[in-house]
């Protein structure tokens, strides 16, 4: 396993974890753009653009793109989040140059007007699909309440209204400003021929011009709010609570993740034994999310509406019991084993490594081996965990609950 990296003259960074004995390779363009880089009026443009990227280029129609992706036998897809838009494909090593050519070409999409209108309908369907699904808008609402006027408040998909209002011209401008080579990273993992990859990338991206692509960073306020929403077709009650966590560059994230696992993993945690194993809740989990300038430490739970009040009290009691029920060494050992074993098991596929390598590079400009990440978890001490646990008592939170009536 070897790490290689290079930066081209146009600013494009290329990073790869080369594993010559892998059966396949995964390639991806990681674009440092997402919903937080949009204006409120353009909410949803990053995600809509991700769809449009597959709709063809000056030399390929949408059909050509789809057919070639399948011709290559690739498993390919894309996603958009608050901070990233990622296009990736897994192929056999012999298809590297064709795959890279295709992937690079679609980074310069044609954004044709008629494709734009058809795809808009698909996005409207996607929004409707999520609106109909649990937790029925609670995720978006909780982000809006927690972040207020901070850019992370914006919805990744936008709203039906903002998407309907988008036009191809403004999407072209957004693309031009955000898909500059200095804002993209070409990431590869698996059986990669790195030298060839770099040579091809130089040629394929020679005409790409660097731009100023800064991102506005700010610390969010730490608000306190309790929101109740009603969704009559629901049968269960869904609750999401955010508190402030740490940004993706902060090594304290390892402490919070181990703590979240001990208290709220979906199996074997304190919340699991108090609520899920005994059938009081369908789920009750803690999880963290990290962004460039801040992070979240969150709770999610589902149960019957009748059970909600007493379950919520149990959850709050568990989270504020740091002094009375300190973290034990056994809990720490179990959580670390679980996390580290999961890391190793998932690292066997190059497609999974792609996201770890790419994510670490985008967020921290670092290459992190599986062993290094595992060691970071192992280094977390009982004292750190106990301190973080006790602090939970005084955190300020935004809670959104959705109930049938």
């Amino acid at each position: 396993m070897e790490f290689r990296s290079v930066q081209l003259d146009n600013g494009l960074e290329i990073v790869a974890e080369v594993n010559p004995s892998a059966f396949s390779q995964s390639l991806g363009y990681f674009v440092k753009t997402g919903s937080r880089d949009e204006t409120p009026k353009m909410a949803g443009v990053s995600h809509f653009l991700e769809h449009m990227v597959f709709k063809g280029t000056d030399k390929r129609s949408a059909e050509d793109v789809n057919q070639e992706l399948d011709d290559l036998g690739s498993q390919s897809n894309a996603y958009t989040s608050e901070e990233q838009t990622v296009y990736y494909m897994s192929v056999l090593p012999e298809n590297q140059s064709h795959a890279l050519e295709l992937l690079s070409d679609i980074m310069r999409p044609a954004l044709r007007d008629d494709d734009f209108e058809t795809e808009k309908q698909v996005i409207i369907e996607e929004i409707a699909m999520y609106d109909d699904q649990p937790p029925y808008g609670a995720v978006e609402r909780a982000m809006e309440e927690f972040f207020g006027d901070h850019p992370l408040a914006r919805r990744v998909l936008g709203t039906r209204e903002t998407v309907l209002d988008l036009d191809p011209e403004s999407m072209r401008a957004y693309h031009q400003s955000r898909y500059a080579p200095n804002n993209l990273t070409l990431v590869a993992a698996g059986a990669v021929n790195f030298d060839e990859l770099v040579e091809s990338a130089k040629r394929l991206t020679a005409s790409w011009l660097p731009m100023d692509t800064s991102r506005s960073l700010q610390r969010p306020k730490s608000p306190q709010a309790d929101i109740e929403m009603v969704h009559p077709p629901a049968t269960q009650q869904y609750t999401l609570q955010h508190a402030l966590g740490v940004p993706s560059s902060d090594s304290y994230r390892y402490v919070l993740r181990v703590l979240a696992s001990i208290l709220g993993d979906d199996s074997g945690s304190r919340l699991f034994w108090s609520l899920v194993d005994n059938g009081l809740a369908e789920s009750a989990v803690l999880f963290t999310q990290e962004f460039d300038d801040c992070g979240l430490f969150s709770i999610y739970t589902t149960c019957s509406p009748e059970q909600h009040a007493s379950n919520w009290e149990i959850i709050q009691n568990i989270l504020s019991s740091g002094t009375e029920k300190p973290i034990t060494d056994r809990e720490i050992e179990l959580a670390k084993n679980k996390i580290c074993s999961g890391l190793i098991l998932s690292s066997e596929r190059p497609s999974n490594r792609l996201f770890s390598v790419g994510g670490a590079w985008l967020k921290r400009e670092r290459y992190e081996t599986v062993a290094e990440v595992a060691a970071n978890y192992q280094r977390v001490t009982r004292a750190q965990l106990q301190e973080a646990f006790e602090k939970l008592k005084s955190r300020s939170t935004v809670t959104v609950t959705v109930r049938p009536e």
């Binding site: 004995s21 892998a22 059966f23 396949s24 597959f54 059909e63 789809n66 057919q67 992706l69 399948d70 011709d71 290559l72 036998g73 690739s74 498993q75 390919s76 897994s90 192929v91 056999l92 058809t118 795809e119 309908q121 698909v122 369907e125 996607e126 409707a128 699909m129 109909d132 699904q133 649990p134 009559p232 077709p233 629901a234 049968t235 269960q236 199996s267 074997g268 899920v276 194993d277 005994n278 059938g279 009081l280 809740a281 369908e282 589902t302 149960c303 019957s304 050992e333 179990l334 959580a335 084993n337 679980k338 580290c340 074993s341 999961g342 190793i344 098991l345 066997e348 596929r349 190059p350």
Partner: protein, 414 residues
């Protein structure tokens, strides 16, 4: 990479299958028992799932808590499921801890405690899981489709029914275990980093002295065409469709699976192109092959806002029927390319292989190698696919819709 698949049948009836993948650090296994929802008494729907849940709440030397703790300590990823004919446990772990992991999985089957104190909690969990299905119409349309298409016995779902779950007693669970959980007809498939001889010895030690017989009933699965609408206050209408196809063990299965591939594998597949790309009718549309014993079906899903639901249904069915107008050599070549790649990539996942070889054994009583599968796929031609389509045209349609308004199957569909 060369592929070896080993098989050994123990005197108690358990079949051990092994595919060594020494380039991995992990090992994964699937342990499958020949009992499922079709073996439940009709007034105890949910028993297969609830009894299995109770078995996992304490077994051998470990109580409920200790089982979870021990598996976490070993760093085991696990899942379990109950289907119409089978009950299975799948686990993946580092190769060094295969033995203690396998011992726990086996003790759950052989030595469950059935703690009285946990019965109500297990029941509550099951009831809650069943209730949550109501909030997931894209899932529910398939459970309703299964009920409608395969009838009272074979259309059951593992979550059971509220009446069934409420009626089940701890004695029912114990009796079910005594009658049905046995090594006869069981399959243990292992893939990943292990040595076959050592594995066989390990399994001999852990399972060799497990005896017991079960008498599974002889399945008689039939598909019943039907149209069901479930009214639901949602923006989208969820459409689940099924029609007849040949089952997994049929000599022409590759033809049938190939046709599903033309319809639904990849971004250039016909359903994705016609329903989503050209018309923007849906975010999600797909088709897949299903076998229930010797009864095969193709099942399709589309989700779309109510006003466009009838058009989505019509286009979906027209796209399926348009296969009769011919298949383009290019689309077949794309399909073959996708299969080739995915067979190679399967070598990167012990979990994917362990569940596939268990499935192969259940349906075929053998495990085809990659090169066999590849050669079968290479044999597919546009003509052979078309002939298969004409011999086995889509018929016996079932449809379940969940949403504000019912839909109508187009004329000429039966």
């Amino acid at each position: 990479m060369e592929q070896s698949i080993f098989q050994h049948t123990f005197p108690n009836g358990l079949v051990l299958l092994g595919e060594p993948m020494p380039w991995l650090e992990s090992v994964a296994f699937t342990l499958l028992i020949r009992v499922g929802t079709s073996d439940e008494p009709s007034d105890r729907k949910g028993l297969a799932g609830l009894a299995f849940e109770m078995m996992q709440r304490g077994a051998g030397e470990l109580d409920s808590h200790a089982i979870v703790e021990e598996l976490d300590f070993l760093g085991v990823e696990r899942s379990s499921s109950v289907s119409t004919f089978h009950t299975s446990t799948s686990m993946a772990c580092m190769a060094s801890v295969l033995e203690p992991t396998l011992k726990i999985a086996v003790s759950i089957l052989r030595e469950p405690h059935f703690p009285d104190s946990e019965m109500e909690e297990a029941r509550q969990s099951s009831l809650l899981e069943l209730a949550s299905l109501e909030d997931d119409p894209s899932q529910k349309c398939f459970t309703e489709l299964k009920k409608a298409r395969f009838g009272e016995v074979y259309g059951r779902i593992s979550l059971g029914t509220e009446e069934g779950l409420v009626a089940i007693t701890l004695d029912d669970c114990k009796e079910y275990w005594g009658q049905h959980i046995s090594p006869s007809g069981a399959v243990l498939s292992v893939a990943g980093n292990f040595k076959w001889d050592e594995l066989r010895e390990l399994v001999e030690r852990v399972i060799g002295d497990w005896n017991g017989n079960s008498n599974p009933h002889k399945p008689n699965v039939k598909a019943y065409p039907s149209v069901v609408h479930v009214e639901h206050d949602s923006q989208q209408t969820h459409i689940a469709l099924a029609y007849d196809a040949v089952p997994y063990q049929h000599p022409e299965y590759y033809q049938s699976r190939g046709l599903v591939g033309i319809l639904s594998d990849g971004m250039s597949s016909r359903l994705f192109s016609e329903v989503r790309e050209k018309r923007g009718l849906v975010y999600s549309v797909s088709a897949s092959s299903h076998s229930l014993h010797d009864c095969g079906s193709v099942m399709c899903y589309a989700g779309t806002t109510a006003a466009r639901a009838q058009e989505t249904l019509d286009v979906t069915i027209a796209t399926i029927n348009a296969i009769r107008d011919g298949i383009d050599p290019q689309e077949l070549s794309r399909l073959k390319s996708r299969v080739r790649t995915s067979l190679v990539m399967d070598q990167e996942s012990s979990s994917a292989r362990s569940s596939q070889i268990a499935y192969d054994w259940v349906y075929l009583k053998r495990v085809p190698t990659r090169s066999e599968v590849l050669s079968e796929v290479d044999k597919l031609t546009c003509n052979s696919l078309l002939e298969h389509f004409n011999r086995f045209p889509p018929r016996s349609w079932s449809m379940v819709t969940i949403g504000p308004e019912p839909l109508e199957l187009p004329n000429g569909i039966s």
